[in-house]
């Protein structure tokens, strides 16, 4: 009996000798944003990687410091290599489980291979949450993260909170790491939001079309809205149009977009978009009331025309200029007509510009607010 206890005690010493992974929580640096820029293309140190992390001392009730976050950059050969380089400058080890945002610099986006490297590194890593937001920067990511501009403080980070949920507008489409890879797998193109600095504030608007891990175009906010409509991603939007000389403001509460792709002497795609909403603003005039059915119907028609024009213009640009199938026609084919898709997959780039795409819009003004 005594021997048994002795053996157990000796055995347990093995375990007490380590505690291999123990790092106290206040002794870690939680990186919240990562920015990647191009440095020297053909060399080892090809990237400049920037880490932004919050200042733990500035959080919570007993905040002792004021500066909300810190930024560190270094040239390096890969994103995680940067953490080793920066370990010479920081007191604690870096921890990547809470990274929320990845910003890719404009120059970097033009190099397909390098982007593929970056994305692979993030995809392979076990710690990075696959739902981090990927943003394209106009200019250098380092500059964007470094600018010491006044901004509201949120715990998750300002950029993340702005980007993550475009519930309030469709000026940009947020994209996660998984979404990006998935889109590029299915249709070869994807759309990521764009971040710029204007008037000393961050600005996330419009987007960047990437084809095969390389940027091919910037698109602006209106185009983004059109694409979001087609992709059924609009949650809340306001459409302003001119009706009989007055501005009509219409708030969207719900949209539904259906697409049907037919193979019928060539590929034809039909998008039907239904928009529901209410009248937000008209004009306060005794003679002009919005509470009559004909008026509402006319307003609807005006809006439909305007939005359809926008959408068709964007589709035209996508088809002819960019040759980018962001609206998911190829993906649809691969899922619902797999045999056809296998035949035309190789030459999709040539076929896509010539597809007939029809858009039918149906806007309904359900309510007019509190007044007539």
């Amino acid at each position: 009996m005594r021997k048994r206890i002795l053996i157990i005690l000796l055995f347990s010493l093995i375990f007490l000798s380590g505690c291999w992974d123990k790092v106290e929580i206040e002794q870690r640096i939680f990186v919240s944003d990562i920015g990647v820029d191009l440095y020297e293309k053909e060399k080892m140190n090809r990237f400049i990687v920037t880490y932004q992390y919050p200042n733990i001392n500035a959080i919570g009730k007993n905040a002792t410091e004021d500066k909300k976050s810190f930024v560190l950059s270094t040239p390096c050969s890969s994103i995680f290599q940067a953490s080793r380089e920066l370990s010479t400058k920081s007191p604690f080890p870096f921890y990547f489980k809470h990274v929320k945002v990845l910003i890719l610099g404009e120059e970097l986006l033009k190099e397909e291979n390098l982007v593929r490297e970056v994305i692979d590194e993030l995809n392979r890593d076990t710690k990075i949450n696959k739902k981090i937001q990927i943003i394209a920067a106009e200019g250098k990511a380092k500059d964007i993260l470094n600018t010491n501009i006044s901004r509201e403080h949120t715990v998750d980070g300002f950029i993340y909170s702005t980007v993550k949920d475009n519930k309030t507008s469709s000026r940009f489409t947020s994209q996660t790491l998984t979404g990006l890879i998935s889109d590029l797998d299915f249709s070869g193109v994807t759309l990521i939001p764009r971040i710029t600095i204007r008037d000393n504030r961050y600005n996330i608007s419009g987007g960047c079309i990437m084809k095969n891990y390389k940027q091919i175009a910037w698109i602006d906010e209106k185009e983004n809205r059109a694409i979001s409509l087609l992709n059924n991603k609009v949650k809340n939007e306001t459409i302003d149009t001119i009706y009989k000389g007055d501005l009509v403001s219409y708030t969207v509460t719900d949209t539904r977009a259906n697409k049907k792709v037919r193979i019928d002497d060539g590929i034809k795609a039909d998008f039907s978009i239904q928009i529901e909403g209410y009248l937000q603003g008209y004009i306060l005039d005794q003679d002009k009331t919005a509470f009559r059915n004909e008026v509402l119907k006319e307003m609807e028609e005006v809006m439909e025309r305007e939005v359809k024009r926008e959408v068709e213009k964007t589709i035209n640009k996508l088809q002819k200029t960019y040759k980018a199938d962001i609206i998911g026609i190829g993906e649809h084919l691969s899922k619902f007509e797999p045999k056809e898709w296998k035949k035309i997959k190789g030459s999709w780039d040539q076929i896509f510009p010539h597809i007939e795409i029809n858009v039918s819009l149906d806007i309904k003004i359900r309510r007019t607010g509190l007044t007539k």
Binding site: W20, D21, N129, K130, K131, T178, S182, D185
Partner: protein, 364 residues
Amino acid sequence: MQNKNTISNQQIKALLVTTVIGVGVLSLPSDLAMILNNSGWIAIIIGGLLILPFIIIMDRLFKLYPGKTFFQIGRKVMHPIAFNIILIIILSYSILLLSYASRIFAEVIKVYLLETTPTEVIILTMLIAISYIARSKLEVVARVAVMIYPIILGFIIFLIVINLPNADYTNIYPLLDIEYKEIPRGIMAVIFSYAGYEILLLALPFSENNENSLRYCMRGILMVIGVYLIVFFITLSQYGVHQLKREIWPSIAVIKEVDLPGYFLENLDGIVMAAWVMVVYGTMGPFLHASGVILGDIFNVKFHELFVPPLIPIIYSISLIPDNLIESDRIMGRILNYFALISIIIIPTIIFILAYIKRRKDKA
């Protein structure tokens, strides 16, 4: 009073489900997606249905000789030395499976939970914990299975509920684009995931209600098929077929796709890991117990507890043989597939045929 060392049918069903759902479920969706793309679910269903006849065979075997354990029947219908050789084959299969499972388990834990802890420590601690359950009698093993069973089910339901808001169901299509040539390969990939039901050879003789055991076993297998299907579809809808082919352990990694900070559901790795440890425990425990019992029978000793501690160093060293993950998959995985085929399909069938013939001879 429960002195008779019997286990109820509920416990048999739980034992079956928890032993079968083990290490195979981790990479199942991605292996199937690589071979069959979106129609991997067919291989799951066919594989499951394929093993049903063998369960029926096992049940019939024990009905031929009611009251006798597998070892007693084996010694009766075959020459004892031949039977010992068969037992040694089953034993090696069992040990190999345990080593493979420990290695994969340790790799997963290292990736998700403890990066720098040495693999040896993880494997060793797991083996010690498992030896505790392996040294108990069969009843206790069945009871632990019943306790783990709702955790597995609850976890699957949790997976479904969490993935509902975010999943893109169109990723499941095309559903029926089947390449018939690839189905046999798909089934080979699935077979290992269904291994584990041979625990019935040990458990069925002790069932307290022989008549209904078969029904419960069927229900158990149907439940396993259901679980695998759900895991497959969920991972498919979250990843899309291309990314699914890239993932090594999609069943666990899928939880990383869930990010609902507004609902306080972020970074749910911890829950998955906790459930995963229980799942592996539920698989390896009965296997180590069975190994102990087999050894006990070979040496004709009543108490299988003695043989469990010596097995631990053997399993430990075998599990450390492969250098990396790919090797362990290739070498051990492939050998295991063949071993599984022999042990769980061929051997019971042989014994059954011999027993049947002997019965005929005895009757005549």
